[in-house]
Amino acid sequence: MSTAISVSVRGLAAAAAAALCLASPVLTAERVDVYLSLEEAPKVMFPEADRIERKDIPSDEALRARMKQRIGRLKPSILEPFYISFTAYKQEQVIGYAVVCEEIGKHRPITFIVATTPDLVVKDVSVMMYREPIGGEVRHQAFLKQFARKNLEDPIAARRDIKNISGATLSVRAMSRGVRKALAFLEETYGKPAGETASASRAEATEVLP
């Protein structure tokens, strides 16, 4: 009997190996990631747009200081040297803004894009690149949809208004920090704070694309 059981364990392993081989055309396909390139990201965020304008806005000390003030206590782990931002148009009306940001999960940066409505309320968030060995669940819509309709008046913090994922706490926190940072940047850049000119008008490079 023990031999039979031993055989069954080996048989199970063999069956698993056979199943893997049969499924190899799917399994051995090149890794298919749920991530977006810079080219695709704004299009995915604004599929209804007929024109998307990109602006790379340098991040100087003044901008960072203002962003930190808007962000509050949850300081970001990365302050980018410049920000790749987008303005989406439909029939020449602004339908939203987006910015690409990064935040450190446990050790490595998570690259993501945050899209907002013209009123700078989160419309969508998408992870463009995830590099950590664990915690990749933050890439999925079931988690990301929590950020919809958030603005900086909301906490946007793990275990507050953003539900945590066990085993991915640091990634959840990173995404939460990152969305707050993105909103702070967009408010500073595309919002019109009293007495201040929006940074977008001082952007070095502007690409207007049909």
Binding site: V44, L79, P81, Q146, K163
Partner: protein, 595 residues
Amino acid sequence: MRVKLPTARGVWLLTALAVLRLGGATQTDTGASTSAAKPSVETAVAAIDQQIEDLRAKLAEVHQQIEDLAALRTAAFAEPVTEPARARATQAPAAQSRVRPANAPSAAAGGLYDSLAEKDPRPTSTALRPGSGLFGDTIKVGGYGSFRFEANNIDLGPQVGDLPRLKRGFNSFDFRRFVVTLDAAPTDRLRFYAEVEMERLNAIEIERNAIPENRGRIGRNRAGVRFIQEVEGSSGGELAVEQAWAQFDFNDKIGARMGVVLPPVGRFNLLHEDDYWDLPRRPLAARGGPALPVKSAWRELGAGVVGNIPWGQGFFDYQAYVVNGVQLDFAMEEVVSLREGRNLLELEPELSFSSGAFNGTNTANAFTWRTAFRPRLGHEFAFSGYHGEYTPDYLLQDGWVNTLAFDGKTTLGNFEIEGEYIFTNFGAMRDVLIDMGRQMVDAVAKTTSAETATLETELEGEFKGPFTNRRNGFWVDFKYRLRPKWLRDGFLGRGFGDPELIPIVRLERVKFADFLTGFDFKGGQITRLDTEDLAQVRMSVGLAYRPTPSVVFSAAWEHNRRTSGSHLIFPRPVGTDPLPDRSFDSFIIGTAFGF
């Protein structure tokens, strides 16, 4: 008056004079205008040269700016949004999958802004890019550790003659562990992860020497050489490889993992990092009186598959491995005594269950698995198990261990409930012990069972770690996350983004059925097999303070009580009998950190 016309000679002379005069005047004028004209030409030339240099400089500047812009620019938005791309964006995550584009940034080469900034000649502060370590972004070094202080009221040992009563509980600091982790990702489909643990380890010193002895001494013992081999270290100290695996991802739903892995049985064995937990001691079912075959962190050498699949609003996680498996380990002390009329062979094996061999010396006979389902964020439940042969190959009797576990976690606002239940069945333990006894006696006597039957043998087993037919246990944590304003604004929270106070209550219980306390083996048969059922419950009430998610300071009061059997399951002091105390209390303060 008559004017005399000049002669031809005179005309020539006059002409020459006029030419000379004119030439001189001209020369004078040119010099003045040449000396007046000379400076303007040179100045003009110099000015032109300067302008040329200025233009060259400006041209170089423009070239540089063009290069800067080219470096910042990515592929132009040459194509309008296509229907397939739009469909991918709005469908479920699985449908968003696509083949990686050629121009996509490498996962292993730092962040997107890093790769763009590398081409940007503008100086960027490295302080803006945390995570760029000594070995670059491909390899990350991390770790965790924990310490605690415990005071308890465990009674002193019994009075034995006039000897002082033995202390069995100590008010003492405990260096629980320090673990170094290494995480390498050479590409986005390959990963390597390792953990090396130092548990209660102060130092390991090895002395190996051969020294002359008594040389040149008259009247002493004969001269010779003394061989010394000593290993010294702190008692209970351990240096171990907890994990060391490599993973190849077929896609984002399945990957193959091979190496030293954690059997995914229950919840705690997978999430054993000390900085995750809000109490300064591990649960009984995982560690103190383990319901698992081997106490956490239990690791085995093997290979399998891991994956995570989006499912509805949640996820489905799975792991499955074939591993070398838990082994019945023993060390033996032999005593051969020849007494008048009696030849006696005494053996004292020390038996324990341990992780399988790492040196390829035992057959891979075990399978372990886990399936976890998260129907919605904040809620998770999982089933897991283990099935493997634990008896060594040299035993005729096969013994199999089966473990089943159920664990879960649910979050309701700031309130969390988390726990697990584990059941382990070793089965056929009596038969295994009989077979082991026979094999030991035969091996020591270097003869067959038929002959040793006439040799009086005594085999008194001692057990390092629980030896039970069946074990089961559970723990459940109830906790609430507080973020009061006074914490954020006070000295405890100043400088921290989101400090938390977490009151927590843990209830736990372990039960050992047929716990083997000792056996005698005589004449090829077990003549005594002492077993009893043991059970212990523990209630812990604690408070944890987390300035950051990876650092915790905690304090807890524990009440341990024996509900069945003659002694407590935990603790098991070294060198003494098991504690017969009915109950004891502990107060523990501890800290754990991760990085």
